[in-house]
């Protein structure tokens, strides 16, 4: 039996990876751990290692999108007979194509939808490939025009029950857009890197990420919000934004405000996480008339305490091994930060200038591990309808800072969630957000 070479899941919301290049040719020998191929995800490119010793055959053509968890090549043992490709690549209809150069010319854009559907089946179904659902759930789903395979079952062994369908219907009623596909963004030019979603109507939602993060951190909640135009701003020295010189928190707010003003929005819903939450408070204090709502997720600025070790640890890390432990401190359930995810995150931090810019920013905003700016007075002044969302296992900023918010603001506190509620409990956060936008 040849060993399958599986497309790894290196990102929490990744559905498939594109084969960029194979490091070795068909018929060549590899050892376990050797670099085998490069993949590209929405976020970055990374190298995948050989899962075993063997001789490489049936490789997926370069440029092809392969759903995660499915084979993209096979490794044969010495002397093992090499026959037909054991299975077609997932997402491909019909027989397995030979990995001939012509295959690489086939436009890959025709395949992803099928690939994603298969992936959904794999998640929702059991070994038989069938969806486990009660008759009542099926009747309700069918009556509501929902595909039972799209629903997440909360019953035993993942069974879809009536409650799951009712929740989905309730959710759909408040969120007219369908959940099917991820949101796609186009890049805008300006002082800071801004990406704007291609769909959505009504009042836009502007999202500001946290320290040492980037716009991609919103991906898990975006599907809940796609009925509105989504606008994501990368902070200076983060993501694809330029590494502007920032000497104070006020400087930072000024730069983001400039980017916000450049958007030319009449009104917007503003969502900010952590440092982005603090900046959002600053924006709300000066652009109150243009905000319809404000959502602060584990915001900075409400107290002096912050986990300075984690911030400097993340800035300092030059290898996945040193970055991993700090990334895990961001979440309550460490299992969601896989080694692959850490490697991908490190790949996004390979630029030494970016790390230096963030280190410098951390020194200015959080000297000696203390939040050097206090936004409580600003928060008191805000009359925009405001929600604060926090995880009660937040190890970066204590959730009890939330209790310093004025009584007119709504608090959503989650047990078993750390500093990243929008990732750790994206469904609940998505529902809270979609209810207020």
């Amino acid at each position: 039996m040849p060993t399958e070479v599986i497309m790894p899941k290196v990102d929490m919301d990744m559905a498939k990876g594109k084969i960029m290049s194979w490091h070795i040719a068909e018929g060549e020998r590899v050892s376990k751990g050797d670099p085998l191929f490069d993949i590209e995800t929405d976020k970055a490119a990374m190298e995948v290692e050989a899962p075993a010793d063997g001789i490489l055959y049936h490789t997926a053509p370069e440029g092809m999108d392969i759903p995660i968890g499915t084979p993209c090549a096979w490794l044969y043992a010495e002397g093992e007979e090499v026959g037909e490709q054991p299975a077609p690549f997932a997402g491909q209809a019909g027989a397995a194509p030979k990995p001939e150069p012509v295959a690489a010319d086939v436009p890959n854009d025709t395949k992803p939808v099928e690939a994603e559907l298969e992936l959904v089946d794999a998640i929702a179904g059991d070994a038989t490939g069938k969806v486990r659902a009660t008759p009542r759930a099926r009747s309700l789903a069918s009556g509501a025009g929902l595909n039972i395979a799209d629903l997440i079952g909360t019953g035993p062994r993942g069974r879809v029950q009536a409650l799951d369908v009712e929740n989905e219907i309730a959710l759909r009623d408040t969120r007219p857009a369908q959940l099917a596909a991820p949101v796609t963004f186009k890049v805008e030019t300006g002082a800071l890197a801004v990406t704007r979603s291609k769909g959505g109507t009504g009042t836009p939602i502007v999202m500001i990420h946290g320290f040492a993060s980037d716009a991609m951190s919103w991906a898990p909640v975006e599907t809940h919000l796609k009925h509105r135009p989504l606008i994501r701003i990368d902070l200076p020295g983060h993501g694809k934004s330029p590494k502007l010189r920032i000497d104070s928190f006020a400087d930072l707010v000024r730069e983001v405000r400039r980017a916000f003003d450049d958007l030319g929005l009449e009104t917007a819903h503003l969502v900010g996480h952590s440092l982005g939450g603090a900046i959002s408070i600053g924006l709300a204090d000066t652009r109150a008339k243009r905000l319809s709502s404000l959502t602060l997720i584990a915001p900075a600025g409400l107290g002096p305490d912050i986990n300075g070790d984690a911030l400097s640890g993340i800035c300092r890390a030059t290898r996945a091994e040193s970055l991993g432990p700090w990334l895990r401190s961001l979440v309550a359930n460490e299992d969601i930060v896989t080694d692959s995810y850490v490697r991908l995150a490190m790949a996004g931090r390979e630029d030494a200038n970016l790390r230096a810019a963030q280190s410098r920013l951390a020194d200015i905003l959080f000297p000696d591990g203390v939040q050097a700016f206090d936004l409580r007075a600003a928060l008191e002044r805000i009359d925009t309808p405001t929600r604060i969302i926090w995880g009660k296992q937040d190890a970066i900023i204590p959730w009890k800072h939330a209790l310093r918010a004025p009584g007119k603001m709504a608090l959503h506190l989650f047990d078993g969630v750390g500093h990243m509620p929008q990732i750790e409990n994206s469904d609940a956060v998505g529902r809270i957000l979609s209810a207020s936008v």
Binding site: T134, P135, R136, A137, R138, S139, T154, G155, P156, Q161, A162, L163
Partner: protein, 336 residues
């Protein structure tokens, strides 16, 4: 405002209610006779016939020899020739000896003779466990007779239904089997005065609820009601249905309830496998109510073994209130 006389609210035991039904029937219709082992001077093994022999004499309250086959045969013959016999098997377990008369004669004669003769016999079967009477005196074999076309089979759970179903059985032109639970004989309950019948083939909704349906028979109706009380305090509203008749079964009442709640537990004392619960489950699964099910159907029935003599084991082999509670909680909370 309705004025109730005192007698309207009087209570009788289940056994007294049966005796009253027989008494009323014997006054109303001189064709009604009682037959069975030790039902005369002794008053019946469980005292159900009591002193009726003193009132009606040994021509109408007849002790039969220790031969269930013989006694049942005489009862079937008497019914065919114009009487309305009520035959008591001392223990339902002993009806195994009379099966030829029940299954091959009583159930089939009307059919085989082209409707020329009917067999309006009523048979009473003291059944069930809980008396420490062990393997040969504690069974619940109602599904045996319920499997036979031509018979009607009822399981009254309350004194009022024990009386009403017996009087209805006497009105019926065909053989009616009445399974009475021995533990219920002493249970008291309101029994209306005078003559009335409880319709055969009609279940009773004993308690309404929206979260799950518990279909129960006989003594399990009371255990289900006990459980429903506790469940209500936990915010789970169980609908409890007393099936009352198992052949013909009240399909409409059960299906309507399952359509409402989407969850079904069947509770019966007889051995679970191939029992009444299997029929109820299949009836739901084959119907349009299937589309309303939001969880697998759960059956609680007797264990796969004879009823033990040891009192603790005797309790353990049949469903008890905690078993119903656990099943209902799991079902209502989507854990099944």
């Amino acid at each position: 405002m309705n004025m109730h006389s005192k007698t309207d609210l009087r209570e009788l035991s289940y056994a007294e209610a049966i005796r009253e039904a027989m008494d009323i029937a014997m006054v109303r219709d001189e064709r009604v006779i009682l037959m069975g082992e030790d039902i005369g001077v002794y008053g019946g093994a469980f005292g159900v016939t009591g002193d009726l022999v003193e009132k009606y004499g040994t021509d109408r309250v007849m002790d039969t020899p220790i031969s269930e086959l013989g006694g049942a045969g005489v009862a079937v013959g008497a019914a065919m020739t114009g009487l309305r016999p009520i035959f008591e098997f001392q223990f339902s377990d002993f009806a195994t000896l009379g099966m030829e008369q029940i299954v091959n004669q009583a159930a089939k004669i009307r059919y085989m003779l082209g409707g020329a003769v009917s067999v309006p016999v009523v048979m009473r079967f003291p059944s069930g466990s809980g008396t420490g009477a062990a393997a040969q005196h504690s069974q619940s074999l109602e599904a045996w007779t319920a499997h036979v076309p031509g018979l009607k089979v009822v399981q009254p759970a309350t004194p009022a239904d024990a009386k009403g179903l017996l009087l209805a059985a006497l009105e019926d032109p065909d053989p009616v089997m009445i399974y009475e639970h021995k533990i219920l004989y002493k249970m008291k309950g309101h029994v209306p005065d005078g003559y009335y019948t409880t319709p055969i083939g009609k279940a009773a909704v004993m308690r309404e609820g929206k979260d799950l349906t518990i279909v129960a028979t006989s003594i399990m109706v009371h255990k289900a009601l006990d459980a429903a009380e506790t469940l209500a305090a936990e915010g789970i509203e169980a609908e409890v249905i007393d099936l009352r008749t198992i052949r013909p079964m009240d399909r409409d009442t059960v299906l309507a309830s399952v359509r409402k709640t989407g969850r079904l537990v069947c509770v019966y004392e007889a051995v679970k496998t191939l029992g009444v619960g299997a029929e109820v489950s299949a009836m739901v699964a084959e119907s349009d109510a299937f589309d309303y099910l939001d969880a697998p159907i759960v059956r609680l029935g007797g264990a796969e073994c004879p009823i033990p003599y040891n009192p603790e084991l005797e309790k353990a082999v049949v469903p008890q209130v905690p078993d119903i509670l656990e099943a209902a909680r799991n079902l209502a909370r989507g854990r099944v």
